[in-house]
């Protein structure tokens, strides 16, 4: 499954394997086709972009996911302030040309769907809901996982150090 590991110090680490990634991409492509959404993003709740579909060239999607995550986090705080105990599950931003629909997937991920105003919201809602169910089962599917300790070893940190020196000259 998508490993959401609690590390010794309480911090969180999320690891996605290649098979899951393919599966997620497939679900998002299907959602894009069904809803005619212009852009779809899947990100983790800290704002890190996982994958994207549709027109992503004209939009800086790294920034869009950072903003969307904060949007979510801000509304959860708002929920608390107004006495709503659960988090708000979805956010909808209505524009003149484009609408943005954000929906969380469990506690760790969320989906951003950008679509033209000519597309009905109902349609987006229905297909997004279905995509979220499918994504949830991908996230929950258990499989053997890859081990991060193999990548981030001693070598890695010294090479990274050299690279930073080079870039930050």
């Amino acid at each position: 499954m998508v490993q959401v590991k609690k590390l010794k110090d309480g911090s969180r680490q999320i690891i996605l394997n290649a098979k899951q990634f393919d599966e997620i991409t497939r679900i998002l492509s299907e959602l894009a086709a069904k809803t005619k959404a212009s852009t779809i993003l899947l990100a983790d709740i800290s704002g890190q972009l996982i994958t994207q579909r549709g027109n992503t060239e004209d939009i800086n999607t790294a920034i869009l996911s950072a903003l969307a995550a904060s949007d979510f986090a801000a509304t959860s705080e708002m929920a608390k302030l107004v006495g709503e105990e659960a988090k708000f599950k979805l956010l909808f931003h209505e524009g003149e040309k484009r609408n943005v629909y954000l929906s969380n997937i469990g506690d760790n991920f969320f989906l951003v769907v950008v679509f033209d105003v000519s597309v009905t919201l109902g349609l987006v809602r229905i297909y997004t809901k279905k995509a979220i169910q499918n994504l949830t089962s991908v996230f929950e599917s258990s499989e053997s996982d890859e081990d991060a300790s193999k990548v981030i070893d001693q070598d890695f940190s010294s090479m990274l150090g050299d690279m930073l020196d080079e870039s930050f000259k």
């Binding site: 590390l7 010794k8 110090d9 309480g10 911090s11 969180r12 680490q13 999320i14 690891i15 996605l16 394997n17 290649a18 899951q20 990634f21 393919d22 983790d44 709740i45 800290s46 704002g47 890190q48 996982i50 994958t51 800086n60 790294a62 920034i63 950072a66 903003l67 995550a69 904060s70 986090a73 801000a74 705080e77 890859e146 081990d147 991060a148 300790s149 990548v151 981030i152 070893d153 001693q154 070598d155 890695f156 940190s157 090479m159 990274l160 150090g161 690279m163 930073l164 020196d165 080079e166 870039s167 930050f168």
Partner: protein
């Protein structure tokens, strides 16, 4: 930290924390202005009319491939003003490392301490602790005449003996050293946690 094996990406989140006007945004602006454009994305700043950060600043840095993996660093600043406490908490979500930008001016000591306690409180509420968390301090505005001595600042703020740097962020002094140090700490920390 987020690892995507399919794309071979390792994402790390670094947050610049500190009292209002201590120079958090200036740090990011300097990094953004000096790095090769191929390594960095756009710098987004959510500011008020008066140029104060209202929510956060954000930029992403990539340094190329290491052992086939692409590390990406997502840099954020928090709004320093006291009344944006909940925004600060929000931005810390999923954080891997912190740069505490302290204002060296003598009359800002209280603000530094207050913000550091606020950081500790927020980290604790997320299950982390300042004692074991990767973070560094930058004593910024060293060029100002009313700045405290490093010894005094160290005594008041650096009780966990984390790496610290002198900074004049507006001229870039200490900016890259600070960033490099926090990235190294984060990577080392991740290793020990795996």
């Amino acid at each position: 930290m987020f690892i995507n094996w399919a794309l071979q990406e390792i994402n790390l989140k670094i947050v610049y924390y500190g009292p209002g006007m201590s120079g958090k945004t200036t740090n990011l602006e300097y990094v953004h202005s000096k790095l090769d454009p191929s390594l960095t994305g756009e710098l987004v700043t959510l500011k008020t009319k008066e140029d104060r950060t209202i929510f956060f600043d954000f930029m992403q840095i990539e340094v190329g491939k290491i052992k086939g993996k692409k590390p990406k660093f997502n840099l954020y600043t928090v709004p320093g003003q006291v009344y944006y406490a909940s925004s600060r908490k929000i931005i810390l979500n999923g954080v891997d490392g912190v740069v505490f930008v302290a204002d060296s001016q003598a009359d800002r000591m209280e603000g530094n301490i207050e913000t550091l306690l606020d950081l500790e409180k927020n980290l604790t509420s997320m299950g982390y602790s300042l004692e074991n968390f990767p973070w560094v301090i930058q004593y910024n505005k060293r060029d100002l005449p009313n700045s405290e001595s490093i010894e005094a600042l160290q005594k008041k703020l650096n009780f966990f003996n984390v790496p610290y740097f002198d900074g004049v962020a507006i001229r870039g002094t200490g900016v890259f050293d600070t960033l490099k140090a926090v990235i190294n700490l984060v990577v080392k920390h991740v290793q020990t946690q795996l």
